[in-house]
Symmetry: C2
DNA sequence: CCGGTTTCTGAAATCGGTTTCATTATAGCA
DNA sequence: TGCTATAATGAAACCGATTTCAGAAACCGG
């Protein structure tokens, strides 16, 4: 009897030999085609698989079936808790279907984004979730020619036939602003990361701007800040707050990362929340409740977003050819101490 | 001229045909064996690849080469920022080498951990990073028989020949406790998630216990809390704080997640930090500086941990057969307002 | 007892690459 | 000129699965 080296993996041929059947038969067993197999054959194969501790090689299987059982996930910023929350939702759906996720972090760098997508393609991923940097629109449009299903998360790409899943930015922003107005705030600043190219930022900012005239706050108080340079945020605060004419000001942070830097800047300037300035923010981070008397925030159903995005992938894989959908979930306003009623 | 269906991917055979050479020659080009190829052949292949927009199929390549160019990463809790910070370090090393990462989140569930590892094995991953649940030691030991390199992150498994990378828990814990003692604290509580099976928790707690007698605080104030049930934490606080006899108490949180729940519990009880109780914690979370006057914390070099772990994987892949290493990085104590000197 | 199903199984082709080995052409040298 | 070394290339086997197609055995009705 010949024995393989220890380093050699057990193959379907080994199983076939031990069970005394052909590779074909073993393959049918693996594929769950039990109805064409005799009971005794099934038993012998089962026995052999357990004895050898056999695990089929997905690369070989994938090559023939033209399926990798891999899903790519390209995130602009994996250290943002939003990303991992979405990942969890996506992963749970995948696991249940026997798929695994290849995670890539682009650090908001479009070059990295391109490289990663090419890399994923060469692994022949069966689906692709993208939270795009927003600076690769032409490149992404080419993806549409491939047959691989793509779902965009949070950020859309214009003109394109991709499914998208994210927050209903219009509803959420509008609800938040109406809440502030009802509480008596008349001076509202909206602080966002650079808006160009990122649809969710654009949509949120657009609502802020659109409601300004109607409700009597200034659309000029829409500030874009690059969080890499902390001075800019500091200047913005000075500019906004010094113009306060007896009116209680409120600052609206466009996401959790902005909020973090904002709180840091306020603290270093000795400005108190909510005494000197009220604060509201997108993203209900785990720590939002802990800052002072809590920061009022708009919670996103992140887990649900991840699940839904991945479910779209599978539906597309299973042949759903319907037109691209934009799926937008409502945000939920969580009221805390940072936005007290104006007296 | 025959034309393939749109859905068909370009293969090496197509490139060979267009370039007017054999598959073999194209393969050599792809493998970078330029020295055996004539200049003109190289040029024609390059041209053909670009024209066809060809991307080699990693499954086919992997099947023959017995390499998947995939690394598995199994994390106990991906929503812990520690995990994503480590992931970033690991990913950067991978990307540079042309590898991709399959990320799995076990939610501290040993059954999920087993399933994921089997799944990864069937993808024939070339390396495996595990932040283990700590409840699969027998199963993990079997992994050692496989030839695939494994590196454990943060949590070790007894008796095993795996490389490990993590924090120097002894140094870090000891440094923190000495810091507290120097500041004049004599009543120290250490609050940890359940210690059984998780080496990093055990190591940290062991130092707390070991130094107790020597420095005159009580080793009884080591509390294990299951964070699923918030009442337990509340009871622990009551128990510890009511025994305070005029001495200023300090609570030492065993990681960032514990700290989060701790702060929440203290706030809901109306206990102020640092007036009523001082606080120190493992993990310098992004928000630690923002709570009150800041929480004193032990920062871990997470990015470095991820990088180093992945580098070990590649070294093992390249044939390094040296005995298993335990690599422990020093933590850095970041002093903030939550631990003022006792007056 | 015979042709026709039905049930179960296997030989061989295939997926898209890599690798081994053989072949051709050209150069170098006596 | 003839013979060998070297450079450049290709045919075919191979990796480990799946799938097509065909064959053997058992069963069935007339």
């Amino acid at each position: 009897m010949t024995r393989k080296k220890q380093t050699d993996r057990v193959t379907i041929t080994d199983v076939a030999r031990v069970a005394g059947v052909s590779k074909t038969t073993v393959s049918r067993y693996l594929g769950g085609q039990y109805h064409v197999l005799s009971e005794s054959t099934q038993a012998r194969i089962k026995e052999a698989i357990e004895q050898l501790n056999y695990r089929p090689n997905q690369m070989a299987r994938g090559l023939k079936r033209d399926r990798s059982y891999l899903i790519g996930m390209v995130m602009a910023d994996i250290s943002n808790p939003y990303s991992t929350a979405v990942l969890r939702g996506a992963e749970d759906v995948c696991k249940q279907k026997g798929y695994s996720i290849l995670v890539c972090n682009t650090d908001n760098d479009p070059a990295k984004e391109r490289e990663y997508i090419l890399m994923l393609q060469s692994h022949r991923i069966d689906g692709l979730l993208i939270n795009t940097t927003g600076k690769n629109n032409d490149f992404l449009r080419e993806l549409a020619n491939d047959c691989t299903p793509v779902v965009l998360i949070d950020r859309k790409v214009p003109v394109l036939g991709f499914d998208t899943v994210g927050l209903d930015n219009e509803q959420a922003t509008s609800e938040a602003i109406h809440f502030l107005l009802n509480r008596g705030y008349k001076r509202i600043a909206y602080v966002s990361e650079p808006i160009a190219g990122v649809s969710s930022r654009r949509e949120r900012a657009a609502v802020f701007t659109a409601l300004a005239d109607q409700y009597g706050y200034s659309a000029d108080d829409l500030y874009e800040v690059n969080l890499q340079s902390p001075e800019r945020l500091s200047e913005v605060l000075d500019h906004f707050l010094q113009r306060t004419q007896g009116e209680k000001p409120v600052i609206f942070a466009a996401n959790g990362v902005v909020l973090l830097k904002l709180i840091r800047a306020l603290q270093s300037k000795g400005i108190s929340v909510p005494e000197d300035v009220a604060v509201i923010s997108f993203d209900d981070t785990e720590w939002a409740a802990l800052i002072g008397s809590g920061i009022t925030a708009i919670a996103q159903p992140t887990y649900q977003i991840g699940m839904t995005a991945m479910e779209r992938i599978f539906q597309r894989m299973e042949g759903d050819g319907s037109p691209a959908q934009n799926i937008a979930f409502a945000g939920k306003l969580i009221i805390r101490g940072s936005t007290p009623p104006v007296v």
